[in-house]
Amino acid sequence: MALLDLANPHRFLAFARALVPALALIAAVLLVLGLVLGFRAPPDYQQGETVRIMFIHVPAAWIALGAYTLMAISALGTLVWRHPLADVSAKAAAPIGAAFSLICLLTGALWGRPTWGTYWVWDARLTSVLVLFLVYLGILALWRAIEDPGQAARAVAILTLVGFVNVPIVKFSVDWWNTLHQPASVFRIGGPTIHPVLLTPLLVTAAGFAALFLALHLGAMRNEILRRRVRALRMLAAAGAEAR
């Protein structure tokens, strides 16, 4: 029976138990290293000291996009292969991905103020990250709205895939829309054109964020499996109390 299958992915739990602390440790080491490197790097000749915000802003954006990609793959797993762990993976990734996109938005605003003199510009990148954040919030709301986990997973999977198509469309359309109105201030940080002194802390922090994301994701997946086990046992117990 599917209920008991779900309540018992033993091997995954053992795997997570071993991996979560290791990943958390790696994340802590990398983030501390990234922080040290980031604050010891020389200020950018154009941006000055505020370039240090980039070391968290850009990796956060990467992780937010990566988490969404993971959710989209999980959504396929749910819809095509009907794998219960795919449901769990998608559900666990959503709040963490939303948190990283929120960090991206907040740090972007705090970077924009000293750089452009305003917290927010309706430019292509910013707008598409904001839309991504909205899609994340919609997915979270849908997860909470549907009681049955299997049904919720299928509904969310459809929404996730639609959102996966929508976000790039928003970005491209806004690019076009934006150049129409405001051609000058399009904000760019070209990856390859960046100086190594700045690139190293960026990559180290990104690796730290990635490790942190994986640790949190596995931890949240474990919690979700336990939550489903609690639910399954409670349903058995309620039925058992009836039979008594």
Partner: protein, 203 residues
């Protein structure tokens, strides 16, 4: 204590369900209201509970607090169990206890008497219909009120649940309580007065 009803009339949706209905229930007595579907059994209970305004007539609880309405001296258990699925079983009962006023009995004891103690921390949406009905009946215990108004209380209850209900009723009545019960099945209790509502009036 005595529940006195005089000249009661009920009009629902432009149709007169009954009129000139009068009866008295004294302490320790049960009034069983029977009759076919649509005769106004549920409406009579809602009138007594103060949930519907009577078209005519008088409802009084003699010997009670004259400041209080009949409704606040009564429990009403209708077709709906008034259970919130998002709250746990214990939270549901704790809420009604705080809302209606608590007595000596704690919520846990009441849940134990109704066989729900193991489910106390479960979200109430997991309960079956019979378990929800038991939870509704637990309200009768945690908030002592002299008049019980029960609309088909044994619906969804299994044999054991019906026995529990009968023993709760017996205890309530021997403690000087009153009850009005709308029912199809026979009540396993002594001192039952029956009133039969027919379609279009009292028979």
């Amino acid at each position: 204590m005595r529940l006195l009803v005089e000249g009661l009339a009920c009009v629902r949706g432009g149709r007169s369900l009954f009129q000139g209905l009068g009866f008295a229930v004294t302490a320790g007595e049960v009034l069983a209201v029977t009759g076919p579907n649509g005769a106004g059994k549920s409406s009579l209970l809602r009138l007594l509970a103060g949930l519907l305004p009577p078209a005519a007539g008088r409802i009084a609880l003699e010997g009670g607090d004259p400041e209080q309405s009949v409704g606040t001296a009564a429990h009403f258990i209708g077709h709906l169990d008034a259970v919130k699925g998002a709250l746990t079983v214990a939270e549901n009962l704790g809420f009604t206890r705080a809302l209606l006023g608590g007595g000596e009995m704690e919520a846990e004891t009441a849940l134990g008497l109704l066989g729900l103690e193991r489910l106390a921390q479960f979200p109430a949406r997991m309960l079956s219909a019979g378990q929800r009905r038991r939870l509704a009946l637990a309200r009768l215990l945690v908030s002592p009120r002299p008049l019980w108004l029960l609309d088909e209380p044994s619906t969804a209850l299994d044999a054991e649940g019906q026995e529990t209900l009968a023993s709760l009723m017996t205890r309530h009545l021997s403690g000087g309580g009153l009850a009005v019960v709308a029912t199809h099945s026979e009540l396993k209790i002594e001192r039952v007065v029956e009133i039969r509502l027919g379609l279009g009036g009292i028979t």
